[in-house]
């Protein structure tokens, strides 16, 4: 698909990588939402997925490994008119950046977090990631991965996430639809996007996911937390995709009295009287 607004670039990804579809769907979602690329900020950490901001016409911030969320939420706090999207991997989001993942769910700044979850480390060539399955053999996990995989959507719902979804890079229309809902959501929105890593993950392949994923039924009640928790735990023979849990919660901007005016912080003029008042307090 050609993307006039968000452009097409040559990438450094392996042929067949799930990242291509995710990038394509992201551009489609942004275009269908009528987003102005000059008001979009793509944020990433480090990893194969984290190269994505380089391949789209938008503002971009490629920071430190694991630290994309703090930078992204602060950019949104500084300028709420920016559409801030974090696009980065499972190692970046759940491993190196695990603490920020937990606490930004709680902070609930209005940003979107797309995690390219291929259950493996790609950039560093094939070590276990926080979501790698038990038993997976790698050059580091030589006797098979002995660490229990993290279930990010279950954690996100339990931690109080207001928009928690799972998707698959191989179901493009569905992914675009979930992405649009996430971007439109007022608060922190997570999509854990399953994707194959053709070079290093020989277990969780395209066929593996394609056989297991199923879209949540139209009558699935995403506002029911108990159902959501149970559904989020399904990850064996069947993997549900779609918006697992959705709840309208007050966003950071709605909770912080300084930000409720709707005027972006970046555009605020100084308060000269405030400074004189402070000086007098010290007199």
């Amino acid at each position: 698909m050609s993307h006039d607004t968000f452009s097409t670039y040559t990438t450094a990804w392996c042929p067949g990588c799930g990242n291509f579809n995710i990038l394509d769907c992201l551009k489609t979602a942004l275009e269908e939402l009528g987003k102005d690329p000059y008001e979009v900020l793509m944020v990433a950490g480090i990893g194969q997925a984290a190269k994505l901001p380089q391949y789209i016409s938008a503002n971009s911030f490629c920071g430190l490994h694991g630290r994309s969320l703090p930078a992204a939420v602060a950019a949104k706090i500084a300028n709420e008119k920016l559409t801030v999207i974090v696009d980065t991997g499972d190692g970046d989001s759940y491993g190196e950046g695990g603490n920020h993942f937990l606490h930004n769910i709680r902070r609930n700044v209005n940003i979107t977090h797309f995690v390219h979850d291929n259950q493996i480390y790609g950039l560093t060539k094939g070590q276990a990631s926080p979501t790698s399955m038990e038993g997976m053999v790698t050059e580091v996990q030589v006797n098979g991965n002995t660490t229990t995989p993290l279930n990010p959507v279950l954690v996100a719902i339990a931690a109080g996430g207001g928009f928690v979804a799972r998707a698959f890079s191989g179901r493009k229309e569905h992914l675009v639809s979930v992405m649009k809902q996430a971007i439109e959501y007022n608060g922190y929105a997570l999509i854990d996007i399953l994707q194959p890593c053709v070079s290093f993950n020989k277990i969780n392949t395209f066929a593996y996911y394609n056989k297991r994923v199923y879209e949540l039924a139209p009558d699935y009640d995403s506002s029911d937390k108990q159902t959501a928790l149970i559904t989020a735990m399904e990850f064996e023979e069947k993997i549900p995709i779609g918006v697992l849990y959705r709840e309208e919660r007050r966003s950071f901007h709605q909770k912080n009295p300084v930000l409720t005016s709707g005027i972006p912080l970046v555009d605020r003029a100084e308060h000269p009287d405030a400074l004189n008042k402070i000086l007098n307090e010290f007199r």
């Binding site: 703090p70 602060a74 500084a78 300028n79």
Partner: protein, 555 residues
């Protein structure tokens, strides 16, 4: 000039008593310097405040006391040997002491009569004010600043009661009226940041930097800034960088332990050329060290922290005036050169109160990232090669241009590259900014005798003690001492140092650390060797008198 010590256990109200007394003294036109010495605990232990006041500017504390205000017997036992013969010990009549200098007051009884035992501090304030012949003025107004509404009346009664109990004893110094303010170093630093246009502060609580976070949080509504407590220091600095990238002047603050977590992101600010101010309020390390005490041992760490090479600036705060103006200047320099600027303070300055000339707000230029931006349409290059290495910085979302930031080596557009030539040019561009920055460094402050033979060198908060020491020594010895005290410390300003070093027969380095980090830096950068160092690393600030003693003791 008088020296008092107010001591007791944590939780007894020493601090409130001290600030109320300080305010009365300030309102009389006195110069005031109050230094906090406290333990890392919420209740119990032994805490005290050194309170010095007089009609001339004050630079250091003193252990030669004119009075002890004791909230417990331990305070008397620990400090009575520091008290002059004419001095007084003010304590409750219940305290057992044979010291003839004691003024025993039935504070607990008075408190009981007034209906609240917690007003003893105000009784003490009344006694002390009377001893020093200070008229009571605006008593209610002063108390209102520090005491909750419902307790003001009872504390005022207690204060008046104390005032009636004794006769004036000390000569009241005649003071000249001056436009003074009184504040802590951390308050001054916070105020400087606000004056410079700070709009976003993120931090994780850590002594002795926490009061910056608390002060700014308390001012966030009225100044319209966002203050966010981060989940850790790594988040704190990455948030500050993200906010700055999006056009908001930002700062983060911590102490050495938190700074250790921040170092990778410090490099991000340097590499991606995003303005950032980082405050390190130093305390003694290594690791947890002495959490509530003071040291100057992070200098070599902060000038080299983070992998690779990138431009940075380090400014050491020398006093409460620097804390305001130099913090504000840090924002201007960070914005102009698109670099991280580290402000080095310490517990001594951060927690101590001083009276200073009211700041001139007109002297501070407010930073506005939107103003400096070139908003022309067309192909914008975030990292354009320019003669001075400073590329035009646009703010994302504010123009019809894309703005990028990248921690990877990048080309002029901000795209990842491994091209050798671009790598070299980008490194030269970034590091080259320092050459221009060096032209506007502030030389160290020089004071003392023009015809000195002994040159003392120091940096940051030893400024006051060294200044007092030089005054005492020159008064006694007819002018053989001078000193250079660095504020701007990295890159190291060298002009004045080289000039004065030529004249010096002896150079003595004075620092609050164990290894003489400034002496190392001076030797590394200039080849100038200090003959000897006076080093103190017990967590307590050196005083002018201590420096004099050490210099006389054979150094």
């Amino acid at each position: 000039m008088y020296n008092l010590l107010i001591g007791g256990a944590a939780g007894q109200g020493i601090e409130t008593t001290a600030v109320i007394l300080q305010k009365f003294l300030k309102n009389q036109g006195y110069h005031v310097l109050a230094i906090r010495d406290f333990m890392s605990r919420v209740r119990g232990g032994h805490n005290f405040t050194f309170l010095r006041f007089g009609k001339e500017p004050l630079y250091s504390h003193s252990n030669q006391l004119d009075g002890i205000i004791a909230f417990n017997e331990e305070t008397i036992q620990l400090h009575n040997n520091e008290l002059s013969e004419q001095g007084f010990i003010l304590g409750d009549s219940q305290f057992v002491t044979a010291d003839s200098r004691t003024i025993a007051v039935e504070m607990a009884v008075i408190g009981k009569e007034l209906g609240n035992p917690r007003v003893t501090g105000s009784v003490a304030v009344g006694v002390v004010l009377k001893l020093f012949g200070i008229e009571l003025k605006d008593t209610h107004k002063v108390l209102k600043e520090f005491i909750k509404e419902q307790y003001i009346d009872i504390n005022e009664k207690a204060l008046l009661k104390g005032y009636e109990l004794v006769e004036s004893r000390f000569l009241k110094e005649k003071t000249e009226p001056w436009d003074s303010i009184m504040l802590t170093g951390n308050q001054a630093l916070s105020f400087g940041a606000l004056a410079a246009g700070l709009k976003f502060y993120s931090a994780y609580p850590m002594s002795p930097s926490t009061t910056i976070l608390e002060y700014l949080a308390g001012k966030s509504d009225e100044t319209g800034i966002v203050v966010e407590q981060a989940e850790d220091e790594i988040a704190a600095i990455n948030m500050a960088i993200g906010a700055s990238f999006a056009g908001v002047p930002s700062m983060t603050g911590t102490s050495g332990g938190g700074f250790s977590l921040m170092v990778e992101a410090l490099g991000l600010s340097g590499m991606a050329e995003i303005p950032l101010v980082v405050v390190d309020v130093q305390r003694p390390g290594p690791v947890t060290g002495l959490p509530t005490r003071t040291e100057q041992s992070d200098l070599k760490f902060v000038i080299s922290a983070s992998q690779g090479e990138f431009p940075r600036m380090v400014i050491a705060l020398r006093n409460h005036t620097d804390a305001f103006y130099q913090t504000a200047r840090a924002f201007a320099l960070a914005e102009k050169y698109q670099i991280p600027v580290i402000v080095l303070s310490d517990q001594y300055l951060g927690d101590s109160y001083a009276t200073v000339e009211a700041y001139d707000l007109a002297k501070v230029t407010r930073v506005d990232p939107l103003e400096t931006a070139d908003s022309k349409e067309g192909e914008y290059l975030r990292y354009r090669f320019t003669p001075d290495g400073i590329s035009p910085r646009l703010i994302p979302g504010k123009t019809r241009n894309y703005v990028s930031a990248d921690s990877d080596e990048h080309d002029e557009r901000g795209f990842i590259t491994e091209d050798a030539e671009i790598r070299n040019r980008m490194m030269d561009k970034r590091m080259g900014k320092l050459e221009q920055l060096k032209l506007e460094l502030v030389e160290p402050e020089f004071f003392g005798a023009a015809n000195f033979d002994t040159l003392l060198v120091g940096w940051g908060t030893t400024y006051g003690p060294i200044l007092e020491a030089v005054q005492i020594l020159n008064h006694e010895n007819g002018g053989k001492y001078a000193a250079l005290i660095f504020g701007d410390i990295f890159p190291l300003p060298q002009k004045l140092l080289r000039e004065k070093a030529l004249q010096a027969e002896k150079i003595i380095n004075i620092e609050q650390n164990a290894t003489g980090q400034l002496a190392d830096l001076i030797r590394e950068q200039t080849g100038i060797t200090c003959n000897v160092s006076i080093l103190k690393y017990d967590g307590r600030q050196i005083s002018g008198e201590e420096i004099v003693q050490k210099l006389k003791g054979g150094n």
